[in-house]
Amino acid sequence: MKRLLTFGAAVLLGATSTQAETIAWWLPNWDEKPARAIVADYETANPGEKVEIVITTWDTMAQKILVGLQSRNAPDVITELESRTLRYARKGLLADLTGVVTELGKDDFVPSALATGEYEGRYYSVPFRHDGAGLYYNKDLFAAAGLDPERPPQTWAQLVEYCKKLTVTKDGTTTQYGIAWPLGNVNNGVERYLPLLYDHGGKLFNQDQTRFTLDTPEAIGALDAMANLFKTGVAPMSSLEVDNTGLRELFLNRRIAMYYSGPFDVQPILEAGIKVGTGVLPGLNGMGVTTVDGFSLIVPAHSSKQKAAEQFVAFVGQPKNQARLTATFPPSYTALKYEQFSSPYLQPFIVQLGRVENMPNHPKWNELERILFDNIQAAVLGKKTSAQAMADANAQMNGSL
């Protein structure tokens, strides 16, 4: 009997200890391959520890994570968009990861990346991917238009001038445009307007984020800059049909000579055999502003295995693992110096990280950006002047606050 009891206790203890060392990690499908390799290394380095991977997708991850966190039914570690992190932190749904960030070296992180998880002086996420946009241009089309293929436009005025030269019309039909924008998708479209707003010196909100400030001359000027490209015919109206991926298709098919996108487009463009060049975003006075976003690791506040989760997050947050997991850039300065990020195509994107603004993290932002988007479209279509569009957007968005 005594033996039996001892055996039972051993089985129970064994079961408990195994369970305590198995943590679950939700991550998006595009990260699966490097994530599995990192998990294998972690399990080898930490015998007895287990990490169970659950795959999410872009379309479903936001809802799944929100519902999981609110219903206290989420796993121990989650990969989530940087710009969504603060919403959960404000509601007390995330574990404090300040200790992990300190251990990894706060100064080694690009500040804008760390800021995406900072709330009341504490850090609630560990970023591993962080990027903004840069300029892509077709070198062959530049040469054909008499432009130097090694010198992309440096200022907004130059961009406008280049667009005119790169727009080709045959028999009354435009066959090639200077530039296009992803104005067929709410998030993509607004994400392209905001850098113009910041570059013009405008702000989305007042200091304490209680009022939108879109009826300012800066905000109107930024919209004018975009809308004028359509009015002058150097940007196609089909911009209103495409998202970022559709925009890349237009570029690959030589329908446009330039466009803005993240560093993830380099590879597919090179694979398509296009002679591509990259540059920083042209601004009013030199390099413009890009909005940045990326992905972070978060730990739900309700996780019963927080210590194990934090240990794993600290492992993934190491520069070498950030570099393995990121599909674009890591936010670690150490990792950014690695060979894999030394491609000349990627250098402008790294330089561009020196002038960035984070995506808005206001709790009602996603709900209200649609209003801004509709008004941007209205201005581009010529249904409203830029001043009218921004005044309407401002009034409607403030009304909804």
Partner: protein
């Protein structure tokens, strides 16, 4: 006493026979009720709660009031009305024409034709919408190419980025996806018409117009009524066509109530999404109620 016992046993047997269906039916009914009642309860309940200074709390009808204070609500309702009218009427007209065409005497390969015409209804809606998006593309679209080749248009039209065209273009996709249902239902209705009545009318000198007005259309009245109700309910709840083609743009030209609900849900605004869903549910229930009454009456 002796007689009472067999009587009671007989009663028990009868009762058992009377309720013998229950074990077979109850599981299905229970699942169906749970799948219908619980989500409805959940949505109605969420529509009455909202974020307050003290966290999530009961707010009564505030979410509904907030819905009608939205500056774009008038546009959403108007677009929804237009969308329902255009897509339901289009599907009805095309479906009836298709059904009549299939009944024309002497038409060959009727079965094959019917199968081909049903295809749009079978194709997964998302896949179909993506194909149509390419079809409409003002840069690479087949539609503009064909129309230009035929000399109908001189320059490519912006089917999805011109506010004047976008809602109609999206409605064409909805019509394309639903007209086969109308065609099938009308075909079934046509086949149920007694051939001898038509023969008698012809003997009496009735032309095709008289046949249609006095015999065929009255015979199809019930079918058409039910089809119309179903089409309206489908259109009221339709999201995929518009979301994939335009996401409610350009400048709100295709923003309907389902687009608002989906956007609100994606933006974590569950209270607003639930309130709008309740509103749409109420409108759909009116049509569904008429449908049920009609079917029950018919039965």
């Amino acid at each position: 006493m002796e007689q009472a016992r067999p009587k009671a046993a007989l009663k028990r047997i009868r009762l058992r026979e009377q309720f013998a269906w229950m074990p077979f039916v109850l599981p299905g009914v229970t699942v169906a009720v749970l799948l219908t009642v619980y989500p409805t309860y959940s949505v109605v309940s969420a529509s009455l709660f909202g974020d307050t200074a003290k966290g999530t709390a009961f707010v009564g009808l505030d979410n509904f009031a907030a819905l009608f204070r939205l500056p774009q609500m008038e546009l959403y309702l108007w677009n929804t009305f237009l969308w329902v009218i255009i897509s339901s009427t289009g599907a009805l007209v095309l479906g009836v024409i298709g059904a009549f065409a299939l009944e024309v005497r002497g038409i060959g390969l009727r079965g094959l034709l019917r199968s081909l015409l049903i295809l749009p209804w079978i194709v997964p809606h998302v896949a179909a919408a993506i194909v149509w998006k390419w079809f409409y593309s003002s840069e690479f679209g087949m539609l503009n190419h064909v129309l230009q080749s035929l000399g109908i248009i001189k320059r490519p039209l912006n089917w999805l980025s011109d506010p004047a065209l976008a809602l109609g273009a999206a409605a064409v996709l909805q019509v394309w996806g639903t007209f086969p249902f109308v065609m099938l239902m009308v075909s079934a209705g046509l086949q149920s018409i007694d051939g001898s009545v038509l023969d008698a009318a012809r003997v009496d000198g009735a032309g095709w117009f008289s046949e249609a007005v006095h015999i065929i259309l009255p015979a199809l009245r019930n079918v058409m009524f039910i089809i119309t109700l179903i089409l309206v309910v489908w259109a009221l709840n339709s999201l995929i066509a518009i979301w994939i083609l335009t996401q409610g743009g350009p400048a709100g030209a295709t923003s309907t109530m389902p687009i608002y609900i989906y956007s609100a849900f994606r933006d974590f605004n569950l209270s607003a999404a639930s309130a709008a869903s309740c509103l749409l549910l109420a409108v759909s229930l009116v049509f569904a109620g008429i449908y049920v009454l009609r079917v029950t009456k018919g039965a």
